[in-house]
């Protein structure tokens, strides 16, 4: 047998064994359902612990549809492989998880297997939830079983062939699911760091958005926290926080995650805004632990380049189109003298993460959509300008703000980028 043939046989054998293993894994037993949902626990501290985990994991964000009942699912998740609708995780026996035992619940979180034995798609971040402790899973189970049951049948997913064939997920799991708790850290770490790592890598599943995905929709293990793209927004990298115009600190991250605003950076927007809403309900100690762990992932702080001197204002020059637009549309809140700037620790435009970013995407999204009201707090509100300014005008105003405030190199092809993102949003 030639070495080529041998190699072919070896590859063939590996594939056969892999497929056999995958098929074996794909057939998971059903766990018998409960006839009725378990009575809500009377253990208040257990329920409180479960509530805390639900906020830290932001379960509600994906498992609640727009204008839908809490946790009743039906929210469409746009993935590169098609649309997946989230499921009903209220304790309704027929359409939710009311018939699930705690064992079935734990298996879903740790192995991505539904109670009836079918495999869940990894849009559900079980590769992270697998890190959760027994006690936390028990608390989360008790909390979910104490929610109001809602009768809401699952919507059919719209996935392209062959991904609509669930047993294929078994192969994905063999490749990418690293089951069980986190390993011991390489060196001794503080209790706060350990708590932070447990939350970030586990229930918080930060990497689901902040780590780029490979072609199979798994997080690229070679590029942890290098950023990504979700729902038309750039997801900032979490491994370059010290490279920001003002390096992030534990205090700034904690404030950002709990209030949605960091005085030296920016306001949470897009898909991050709801995350901040939920972390506002988590204990500050947990959020600070998250910040402590994230700061440990950073490269050393580089010597800060001297800030460039502000360009001398050319008094006699006529206003550029961008400056004229900025004065009417933006200056009311964003100029240095605006009362909106001095209230509530709002960040100066020159520090803004969006305006300092390498890509104009998030700045364009902010101008097009603004930032919605959040309850009665106007801290993050910005009106949308999609109907006010044309693509060229948005490009002009952003080019002006970029050069005047961020003083960074101009973004390329802004009008085309605005047109492209406006078109994406209209889909």
């Amino acid at each position: 047998m030639s070495s080529k043939k041998k190699a072919a046989w070896t590859v063939g054998a590996v594939i056969v064994i892999g497929v056999a293993a995958a098929l074996a894994y794909a057939r998971q037993p059903a766990i018998p359902p409960l006839a009725q949902a378990p009575a809500a626990s009377a253990n208040q501290s257990l329920l409180a612990q479960g509530a805390r985990l639900a906020e830290l994991g932001d379960c509600m964000q994906c498992h609640t549809a727009k204008d839908g009942k809490p946790y009743a699912g039906g929210e469409p998740l746009a993935t590169p492989f098609g649309t997946i609708y989230t499921t009903n995780i209220t304790p309704d026996v027929e359409t939710g998880i009311g018939g699930w035992t705690q064992e079935a619940f734990a298996r879903a979180l740790r192995k991505g297997v539904s109670r009836d034995g079918h495999l869940l798609y990894p849009a559900f971040p079980y590769p992270h939830f697998t890190r959760m402790s027994d006690e936390d899973i028990a608390a989360l189970y008790a909390y979910m079983m104490a929610r109001t049951p809602v009768h809401a049948p699952a919507k059919a997913n719209a996935l392209s062939f062959p991904l609509n064939f669930r047993p294929l997920v078994a192969g994905w799991n063999l490749l990418f699911l690293d089951e069980g708790p986190l390993p011991q850290p390489a060196r001794t770490q503080s209790a706060e760091w350990l708590r932070g790592r447990y939350l970030v890598e586990g229930a918080g599943h930060c990497a689901s958005c902040h780590t780029p995905m490979n072609a199979l929709g798994a997080e690229k293990s070679s590029q942890p926290y290098a950023g990504g793209l979700i729902d038309g927004w750039n997801v900032p990298p979490l491994n370059a926080l010290t490279l920001a115009r003002k390096p992030w600190t534990v205090d700034q991250i904690t404030a950002y995650l709990r209030t949605g605003i960091a005085s030296e950076h920016s306001a949470a927007a897009g898909p991050m805004l709801p995350v901040a809403h939920h972390l506002a309900n988590a204990p500050e100690s947990d959020v600070r632990a998250i910040a402590t762990y994230l700061m440990s992932l950073q490269p050393p702080v580089p010597a800060q380049p001297a800030a460039p001197a502000p360009a001398a204002a050319a008094e006699s020059q006529p206003l550029s189109p961008g400056a004229a637009l900025f004065n009417a549309s933006c200056a009311g809140c964003h100029s240095a003298a605006a009362p909106m700037r001095s209230l509530g620790d709002r960040p100066a435009l020159e520090l803004g993460s969006t305006l300092n970013a390498d890509s104009p995407r998030n700045a364009i999204q902010m101008v097009l959509n603004g930032n919605p009201w959040t309850g009665s707090s106007a801290a993050h509100y910005m009106p949308p300008f999609a109907n006010v300014l044309t693509d060229q005008q948005i490009a002009d105003v952003l080019a002006y703000a970029r050069s005047t405030y961020a003083q960074r190199p101009a973004w390329n092809d802004l009008p085309a980028a605005v047109a492209a993102i406006r078109k994406e949003n209209s889909k």
């Binding site: 400056a323 004229a324 106007a378 109907n387 044309t390």
Partner: protein, 175 residues
Amino acid sequence: MVKLTVNGVEHDLDIDPSMPLLYALRNHLELNGAKYGCGLGQCGACTVIVGGKPVFSCLTPVSAVGARPVRTIEGLGTPEQPSALQKAFIDKQAAQCGYCIAGMVMRAQALLDERPGATEAEIREHMQPNLCRCGTHMRIISAIVDASQTLRKQRQAENQTARQAVAAIESGDQA
């Protein structure tokens, strides 16, 4: 010079290009329907229609308007002949102090132009940005719902007339 087309009339104004549209309307064209509320795009009292879309005129630079036509409440009806939407606001007595009403009417008008017959749910979602401090939202919504139904019936009647006219012409052709 800045050129503005407001309610079908062209104006050449010698004003700063960074002036908000609201100031040009009120101070230079003496169209005082749109009101200054917050100046921050938070209340909607200044809402007018630009290029078919409702905008906060307090944050709309005159230099951004370009050739897009501007419609203000002065362009709808008159006290003698109010538009369907204005009539509904009067019938429902939707105004208390009235400060927000011009903005409310113009935001609603933009929706009804696009979708006569819009449902109450659509109307409620569309009207979200506009606030009324007197709290007459319930009457405002019910006035818009009324106008929406009136306009839907009008549109149906117009379509019916048009169909009949076409049918008459076609049968004439055959004869």
